[in-house]
Symmetry: C2
Subunit: 338 residues, 2 copies
Amino acid sequence: MRVTTIHAAGDIRLEERPVPVIGAPTDAVIKITAGCICGSDLWPYRGENPITAGSTIGHEMVGVIEEVGSEVRSFKPGDFVIVPFCTCDNTCPNCDNGAHSACVNGGFTTGGQGEYGLVGQADGSLVKTDGMPDPSMIPSLLTLSDVFPTGWHCAVSAGVRKGHTAVVVGDGAVGLCGVLAAVQLGAEKVIAMSRHESRQEIARAFGATHIVAERGADGAKRIKEITDGVGADAVLECVGTDDAMRMAFQAARPGAMVGFVGVPHGVKLPVERMFAKNVGLAGGVAPVRRYLPELLDLVTSGTVNPGLVFDSVMPLADVAEGYRAMDERRAIKVLLQP
Amino acid sequence: MRVTTIHAAGDIRLEERPVPVIGAPTDAVIKITAGCICGSDLWPYRGENPITAGSTIGHEMVGVIEEVGSEVRSFKPGDFVIVPFCTCDNTCPNCDNGAHSACVNGGFTTGGQGEYGLVGQADGSLVKTDGMPDPSMIPSLLTLSDVFPTGWHCAVSAGVRKGHTAVVVGDGAVGLCGVLAAVQLGAEKVIAMSRHESRQEIARAFGATHIVAERGADGAKRIKEITDGVGADAVLECVGTDDAMRMAFQAARPGAMVGFVGVPHGVKLPVERMFAKNVGLAGGVAPVRRYLPELLDLVTSGTVNPGLVFDSVMPLADVAEGYRAMDERRAIKVLLQP
């Protein structure tokens, strides 16, 4: 089968590898209907994370079960499933606590930018649809693998509640899903920080009430104006850089929470400011499985359309171009069709 | 009147100064019944905070109103009041949001280790008792000025809920009040980290179910044992050092919250660990006024006896010895009688 590999910064290849086989009795093999490129894939692509040359890359996918291990009870070949980027047994104490991404039997999905994927802890990790979905639903279903629950986790971690004013730092696909999540969780004002017209449009489609194009001190000033000088009740940091984190804390009102879901790169937390202003921080690797039943309902009922974040669809053969397009911010998020 | 001043590290004096006078129409002058020394007073005493030579020190007090400004409506001379260490109007947007310590008209109380104190925003800041309290109640009432609501804020910030396992890092008066708060908020197991027998005793009196004397990796190991390998649901960091913060994050289970109320000194937050384990952090300067009605009820009803943290009572004249006793950890917390 063909699967995407990374050999060095900027060196993405589509290679022939054996179709994965069931290793553990809890595994499942998935024939991938759609995969995609994640913002976090750009860290190694840009040389900012270590790379094992020739390793597969890609952790988001939806598809049809091809084969299951002997202990898998809830799924059978032919089921259409959402594959969370992090796997879990959904029964350990961490899963019971809602921290599925720290499952004691968990791991990460790989091979998502390919033809077949291998998923561990299939019973605990996967969620299936009622029958085969309409092709028009595939993009939104694919967002359930990572980007939508990650934005959702950011909003939940930021404590977004009815009537809140929420600020979203970052206009990538996660940030846009954070806008969608904040709106769904009842925020009255949702301020998307974005300088890109195409991203602003999606933010508005997701329910953003305000767009702030300024950054840094100017951005903080605009947010103060919008919030009558108080600051935001909840802030979603959806990037992972020190600048973005700094912006998030500048936007927060005293007593607010900042949610964060961007893998931190060079972030130094402003502990003195946090203390003086009582601004907390929570978040991390999204416990996708925890949110899936609720978010799948939102998608299948047509309440939300997170698939809008895919502004580019490419055949798997063009994966290297997909990376270039996202790296150069020509594309928000690229959907890959095997 | 006599009031405590600090001139240099280790140089505490009791000096004659004029009795404070009403400056703003929202002020009140308090004849102090009891004041005390705060753990945070030890930072300048130890030379770890900048000092303005000759400035007054001390911010905790209870006493009787001597005089009020022309706009003070809710209090009159003769009322016995709790004086929060941070003042607030209790009406601004930050107060409405429960962030009273960031009140736009707020400030800090001073002169608490003296005979008379001046309090700003009297109507918003103060809470009075029903009549003059019995002298036996004074220590517990005095804890409402800072240390008990600060421990309470730590537990609230850590998200302590019914059935939780809570760990308290720090066995100073704030940490001990954190134990009391965690118990009152319904924690099933409360683990006090303490190596001092007299402090362990108070922790037990406040409801601690476990004492862990070990620190660092050994302490984390003991907490893992007590929590069946999972870690604590909520951790209260009541010190403010990097070691204590590190300990707090080691004790937390995935998805937990760390509350923090010790003024951070040299703390570097472990953002990568926080992200990987989904362990959040919240807290800061305690919004005392927010909690006062509830905590005053707990005290006056006899439900709790936070005054136990005062293991030493001295006349105001001995204030310098009080500082020495706390600095050398001979005393947990010193109550001063003017």
